[in-house]
Symmetry: C2
Subunit: 143 residues, 2 copies
Protein backbone atom coordinates (compact mmCIF):
# COMPACT_ATOMS: atom_id res chain seq x y z
CA UNK A 1 0.00 0.00 0.00
CA UNK A 2 2.66 2.56 1.01
CA UNK A 3 4.40 2.70 -2.33
CA UNK A 4 6.31 5.66 -3.76
CA UNK A 5 3.32 6.25 -6.06
CA UNK A 6 1.01 6.40 -3.06
CA UNK A 7 2.90 9.31 -1.50
CA UNK A 8 3.70 10.99 -4.82
CA UNK A 9 -0.03 11.19 -5.46
CA UNK A 10 -0.32 13.20 -2.25
CA UNK A 11 2.47 15.50 -3.39
CA UNK A 12 0.67 15.89 -6.72
CA UNK A 13 -2.48 16.76 -4.85
CA UNK A 14 -0.54 19.59 -3.19
CA UNK A 15 0.60 20.74 -6.65
CA UNK A 16 -3.05 20.85 -7.70
CA UNK A 17 -3.86 23.07 -4.72
CA UNK A 18 -1.05 25.40 -5.84
CA UNK A 19 -2.53 25.44 -9.35
CA UNK A 20 -5.90 26.55 -7.99
CA UNK A 21 -4.08 29.52 -6.43
CA UNK A 22 -2.38 30.32 -9.75
CA UNK A 23 0.98 29.32 -8.27
CA UNK A 24 3.57 27.29 -10.19
CA UNK A 25 2.10 23.85 -9.43
CA UNK A 26 4.71 22.06 -7.36
CA UNK A 27 3.89 20.09 -4.23
CA UNK A 28 5.53 17.82 -1.72
CA UNK A 29 5.01 15.72 1.38
CA UNK A 30 7.43 14.54 4.07
CA UNK A 31 6.92 11.00 5.28
CA UNK A 32 8.28 9.35 8.41
CA UNK A 33 7.44 5.71 9.21
CA UNK A 34 4.77 5.70 6.51
CA UNK A 35 3.10 8.69 8.10
CA UNK A 36 2.81 12.07 6.38
CA UNK A 37 4.27 14.60 8.83
CA UNK A 38 4.31 17.63 6.53
CA UNK A 39 2.71 18.70 3.27
CA UNK A 40 3.21 21.91 1.31
CA UNK A 41 2.88 23.56 -2.07
CA UNK A 42 4.56 26.45 -3.75
CA UNK A 43 3.37 29.80 -2.37
CA UNK A 44 5.87 32.29 -3.82
CA UNK A 45 3.19 34.53 -5.36
CA UNK A 46 0.71 34.37 -2.50
CA UNK A 47 3.38 35.17 0.07
CA UNK A 48 5.42 37.46 -2.21
CA UNK A 49 8.45 35.46 -1.13
CA UNK A 50 10.96 33.67 -3.37
CA UNK A 51 11.87 31.37 -0.49
CA UNK A 52 8.33 29.95 -0.19
CA UNK A 53 8.98 26.86 -2.31
CA UNK A 54 7.06 23.74 -1.31
CA UNK A 55 10.19 21.99 -0.06
CA UNK A 56 11.32 24.89 2.15
CA UNK A 57 7.96 25.06 3.89
CA UNK A 58 7.82 21.28 4.28
CA UNK A 59 11.31 21.13 5.82
CA UNK A 60 10.38 23.77 8.40
CA UNK A 61 7.03 22.11 9.05
CA UNK A 62 8.48 18.60 9.44
CA UNK A 63 11.18 19.87 11.81
CA UNK A 64 8.50 21.57 13.88
CA UNK A 65 6.56 18.33 14.02
CA UNK A 66 9.60 16.29 15.02
CA UNK A 67 10.92 18.88 17.47
CA UNK A 68 14.39 18.73 15.92
CA UNK A 69 15.99 20.27 12.89
CA UNK A 70 17.29 17.07 11.26
CA UNK A 71 15.01 14.93 9.08
CA UNK A 72 17.09 11.79 9.45
CA UNK A 73 14.38 9.16 9.10
CA UNK A 74 12.30 11.06 6.63
CA UNK A 75 11.53 10.86 2.93
CA UNK A 76 10.55 13.88 0.85
CA UNK A 77 8.22 13.23 -2.09
CA UNK A 78 8.32 16.19 -4.44
CA UNK A 79 6.65 16.56 -7.85
CA UNK A 80 9.52 18.52 -9.44
CA UNK A 81 13.27 18.19 -8.95
CA UNK A 82 14.40 20.63 -6.22
CA UNK A 83 16.20 23.84 -7.22
CA UNK A 84 19.60 24.95 -5.87
CA UNK A 85 18.04 26.64 -2.82
CA UNK A 86 15.92 23.64 -1.88
CA UNK A 87 18.73 21.15 -2.46
CA UNK A 88 20.88 23.18 -0.08
CA UNK A 89 18.13 23.10 2.54
CA UNK A 90 17.67 19.34 2.09
CA UNK A 91 21.43 18.89 2.58
CA UNK A 92 21.41 20.83 5.81
CA UNK A 93 18.39 18.76 6.98
CA UNK A 94 20.27 15.50 6.32
CA UNK A 95 17.08 13.97 5.01
CA UNK A 96 17.25 10.20 4.40
CA UNK A 97 15.58 9.99 1.01
CA UNK A 98 14.28 12.27 -1.72
CA UNK A 99 11.79 10.93 -4.26
CA UNK A 100 11.39 13.14 -7.34
CA UNK A 101 8.54 13.12 -9.85
CA UNK A 102 9.73 15.06 -12.89
CA UNK A 103 13.25 16.27 -13.60
CA UNK A 104 13.97 20.00 -14.01
CA UNK A 105 16.93 20.07 -16.37
CA UNK A 106 17.31 23.86 -16.23
CA UNK A 107 16.67 24.85 -12.63
CA UNK A 108 17.17 21.53 -10.83
CA UNK A 109 20.19 20.77 -8.66
CA UNK A 110 21.30 17.60 -10.46
CA UNK A 111 22.59 19.32 -13.59
CA UNK A 112 24.41 21.89 -11.42
CA UNK A 113 26.56 19.02 -10.11
CA UNK A 114 25.29 19.57 -6.60
CA UNK A 115 24.82 16.66 -4.27
CA UNK A 116 22.64 16.26 -1.22
CA UNK A 117 23.94 14.87 2.09
CA UNK A 118 26.16 11.79 1.46
CA UNK A 119 23.62 9.58 3.24
CA UNK A 120 20.61 10.83 1.24
CA UNK A 121 19.16 8.34 -1.24
CA UNK A 122 17.70 9.90 -4.40
CA UNK A 123 14.98 8.31 -6.55
CA UNK A 124 13.68 9.94 -9.73
CA UNK A 125 10.89 9.28 -12.23
CA UNK A 126 7.95 8.45 -9.94
CA UNK A 127 4.74 9.55 -11.72
CA UNK A 128 7.02 11.58 -13.97
CA UNK A 129 4.42 12.14 -16.69
CA UNK A 130 1.74 13.57 -14.41
CA UNK A 131 4.19 15.66 -12.39
CA UNK A 132 5.71 17.12 -15.56
CA UNK A 133 2.39 17.67 -17.33
CA UNK A 134 0.88 19.88 -14.63
CA UNK A 135 3.85 22.28 -14.76
CA UNK A 136 4.01 22.30 -18.58
CA UNK A 137 0.29 23.03 -18.86
CA UNK A 138 0.63 25.84 -16.33
CA UNK A 139 3.38 27.59 -18.26
CA UNK A 140 1.59 26.99 -21.57
CA UNK A 141 -1.49 28.76 -20.16
CA UNK A 142 0.70 31.71 -19.17
CA UNK A 143 2.16 32.29 -22.64
CA UNK B 1 29.54 57.86 5.23
CA UNK B 2 27.54 55.02 3.61
CA UNK B 3 30.54 52.85 2.78
CA UNK B 4 30.55 49.06 2.51
CA UNK B 5 32.30 49.00 5.90
CA UNK B 6 29.49 51.06 7.42
CA UNK B 7 26.85 48.48 6.53
CA UNK B 8 29.10 45.48 7.14
CA UNK B 9 29.52 46.73 10.71
CA UNK B 10 25.74 46.46 11.08
CA UNK B 11 25.83 42.93 9.71
CA UNK B 12 28.61 42.10 12.16
CA UNK B 13 26.47 43.52 14.95
CA UNK B 14 23.77 41.00 13.94
CA UNK B 15 26.41 38.23 14.09
CA UNK B 16 27.23 39.36 17.64
CA UNK B 17 23.55 39.06 18.60
CA UNK B 18 23.58 35.50 17.22
CA UNK B 19 26.71 34.77 19.30
CA UNK B 20 24.94 35.89 22.47
CA UNK B 21 22.25 33.28 21.67
CA UNK B 22 24.92 30.59 21.14
CA UNK B 23 24.10 30.48 17.43
CA UNK B 24 26.76 30.25 14.72
CA UNK B 25 27.57 33.99 14.54
CA UNK B 26 26.56 35.09 11.07
CA UNK B 27 24.59 38.26 10.39
CA UNK B 28 23.38 40.35 7.49
CA UNK B 29 21.50 43.48 6.51
CA UNK B 30 19.65 44.39 3.31
CA UNK B 31 20.11 47.98 2.14
CA UNK B 32 18.04 49.92 -0.36
CA UNK B 33 18.92 53.55 -1.19
CA UNK B 34 21.29 53.68 1.76
CA UNK B 35 18.52 52.61 4.09
CA UNK B 36 18.55 49.33 6.03
CA UNK B 37 15.28 47.58 5.18
CA UNK B 38 16.01 44.21 6.81
CA UNK B 39 18.44 42.79 9.35
CA UNK B 40 18.81 39.23 10.55
CA UNK B 41 21.11 36.73 12.19
CA UNK B 42 21.37 32.99 12.14
CA UNK B 43 18.64 31.33 14.24
CA UNK B 44 18.89 27.67 13.25
CA UNK B 45 19.24 26.43 16.85
CA UNK B 46 16.68 28.75 18.42
CA UNK B 47 14.07 27.92 15.78
CA UNK B 48 15.16 24.28 15.31
CA UNK B 49 15.13 24.99 11.59
CA UNK B 50 17.98 24.46 9.12
CA UNK B 51 16.43 27.05 6.79
CA UNK B 52 16.71 29.87 9.37
CA UNK B 53 19.98 31.26 8.04
CA UNK B 54 20.43 35.03 8.36
CA UNK B 55 20.14 35.56 4.59
CA UNK B 56 16.89 33.58 4.23
CA UNK B 57 15.18 35.58 6.95
CA UNK B 58 16.50 38.85 5.54
CA UNK B 59 15.26 38.05 2.02
CA UNK B 60 11.75 37.31 3.34
CA UNK B 61 11.82 40.37 5.56
CA UNK B 62 13.05 42.73 2.82
CA UNK B 63 10.42 41.41 0.39
CA UNK B 64 7.75 42.02 3.03
CA UNK B 65 9.02 45.56 3.49
CA UNK B 66 9.07 46.26 -0.24
CA UNK B 67 5.77 44.50 -0.94
CA UNK B 68 7.30 42.53 -3.78
CA UNK B 69 9.39 39.40 -4.00
CA UNK B 70 12.29 40.79 -6.05
CA UNK B 71 15.12 42.69 -4.40
CA UNK B 72 16.24 44.44 -7.55
CA UNK B 73 17.63 47.65 -6.07
CA UNK B 74 18.96 46.08 -2.93
CA UNK B 75 22.35 45.15 -1.54
CA UNK B 76 22.88 42.33 0.94
CA UNK B 77 25.77 42.73 3.39
CA UNK B 78 26.59 39.39 4.95
CA UNK B 79 29.45 38.51 7.30
CA UNK B 80 30.07 35.04 5.81
CA UNK B 81 29.84 33.84 2.22
CA UNK B 82 26.34 32.42 1.57
CA UNK B 83 25.86 28.64 1.40
CA UNK B 84 24.23 26.77 -1.50
CA UNK B 85 20.73 27.27 -0.09
CA UNK B 86 21.15 30.99 0.47
CA UNK B 87 22.83 31.55 -2.90
CA UNK B 88 19.83 29.88 -4.55
CA UNK B 89 17.46 32.16 -2.66
CA UNK B 90 19.51 35.25 -3.61
CA UNK B 91 19.35 34.14 -7.26
CA UNK B 92 15.59 33.83 -7.16
CA UNK B 93 15.39 37.28 -5.51
CA UNK B 94 17.45 38.84 -8.32
CA UNK B 95 19.24 40.99 -5.77
CA UNK B 96 21.44 43.72 -7.25
CA UNK B 97 24.54 43.34 -5.12
CA UNK B 98 25.97 40.99 -2.50
CA UNK B 99 28.80 42.19 -0.25
CA UNK B 100 30.58 39.39 1.61
CA UNK B 101 32.78 39.68 4.70
CA UNK B 102 34.68 36.41 5.01
CA UNK B 103 34.86 33.60 2.46
CA UNK B 104 33.60 30.10 3.34
CA UNK B 105 35.76 27.82 1.22
CA UNK B 106 33.96 24.64 2.31
CA UNK B 107 30.29 25.53 2.51
CA UNK B 108 30.14 28.68 0.40
CA UNK B 109 28.59 28.81 -3.07
CA UNK B 110 31.63 30.21 -4.91
CA UNK B 111 33.71 27.02 -4.76
CA UNK B 112 30.65 24.99 -5.85
CA UNK B 113 30.80 26.87 -9.16
CA UNK B 114 27.37 28.33 -8.53
CA UNK B 115 26.56 31.81 -9.73
CA UNK B 116 23.94 34.27 -8.57
CA UNK B 117 21.60 36.11 -10.97
CA UNK B 118 23.57 37.38 -14.01
CA UNK B 119 22.90 40.98 -12.96
CA UNK B 120 24.08 40.53 -9.36
CA UNK B 121 27.37 42.22 -8.49
CA UNK B 122 29.49 40.37 -5.91
CA UNK B 123 32.07 42.03 -3.65
CA UNK B 124 34.18 40.04 -1.18
CA UNK B 125 36.65 40.84 1.59
CA UNK B 126 34.90 43.69 3.42
CA UNK B 127 35.95 43.52 7.10
CA UNK B 128 37.11 40.00 6.32
CA UNK B 129 39.27 39.64 9.43
CA UNK B 130 36.54 40.56 11.94
CA UNK B 131 33.86 38.54 10.11
CA UNK B 132 36.07 35.48 9.98
CA UNK B 133 37.37 35.81 13.55
CA UNK B 134 33.94 35.72 15.21
CA UNK B 135 33.07 32.42 13.47
CA UNK B 136 36.49 30.86 14.14
CA UNK B 137 36.36 31.80 17.83
CA UNK B 138 32.85 30.36 18.09
CA UNK B 139 33.87 26.97 16.70
CA UNK B 140 37.08 26.97 18.78
CA UNK B 141 34.96 27.43 21.93
CA UNK B 142 32.80 24.44 20.90
CA UNK B 143 35.68 21.98 20.53
Amino acid sequence: MFTDEYFMKMALNEAEIALEKDEVPIGCVVVSNNRVIARAHNLTETLNDVTAHAEMQAITSAANFLGGKYLKNCTLYVTLEPCVMCSGALSWAQISKVVIGARDEQRGFINKNLSLHPKTEIVTGIMEYECSLIVKEFFKSKR
